[in-house]
Symmetry: C2
Subunit: 131 residues, 2 copies
């Protein structure tokens, strides 16, 4: 058995009242319009992704007064990928809906998410799983 994963999404976190300003700025800065099919009331805003194995950029409105950037690792087997990353020294922080928030041994917080990008599996690596 094996599963795959890829560095898939750059998530720009903004304090909720500044989410509108974040979307306007980053769409202009990166030259990526907000997706036409996006729900304007949702907590996440998605920018258009150019073709090819590049990263999606999404903007998250947070309630924790946190401004920063994190990224998501996308995988076709969240449980197996979380176990692989634990073996490398990461630890689980919390389970949210269908993804895990984890912390690297060097401190960075990131998420392990199920497949959701249009580019999948472009650029994904295959990892053998223990039997």
């Amino acid at each position: 058995m094996a599963h795959r994963s890829r560095l898939a999404t750059l998530v720009i976190d903004s304090d909720a009242p500044r989410q509108g300003s974040a979307i306007a700025f980053w769409a202009g800065a990166l030259g990526r319009m907000r997706r036409a099919d996006d729900d304007p009331a949702a907590r996440y805003a998605h920018l258009e992704t150019p073709a090819g194995p590049t990263l999606d950029v999404i903007l998250q409105a947070t309630t924790s007064d946190h401004e920063g950037v994190h990224f998501d690792i996308e995988t076709d087997d969240v449980a197996a990928e979380v176990e692989r990353l634990e073996t490398l020294g990461a630890r689980r922080l919390r389970h949210v809906e269908d993804w895990w928030v984890m912390r690297a041994p060097s401190g960075q917080v990131f998420c392990v998410i199920p497949v959701q990008s249009a580019a999948w599996p472009e650029g994904a690596l295959k990892w053998p799983d223990e039997v």
Copy 2:
């Protein structure tokens, strides 16, 4: 006149004593080995970048006890790109060597750097400059 820019580099910042652990973890997590030509004593560590218009990943040892992620916008004209981003609402924080550290109106800190990726200008957008 016009200049170009692209979202080019994901920078993983670690407190300096944890830089070794950060390199080991993220190389394994992303399946990108540290570049063979990298200077092991340098403040920056570079991971191998797969072919195509994806992002470079580098690890920076910081002295500010800061753990997080930021990204770099790469451009063939740093001054023109900084001006363009100021017009969108970003402001300059400081000039370091040949790049600028800026803050988005939504709070995120990022850098505007001269061309340095092997992929340039793949994925770069062209911006008309005022005359």
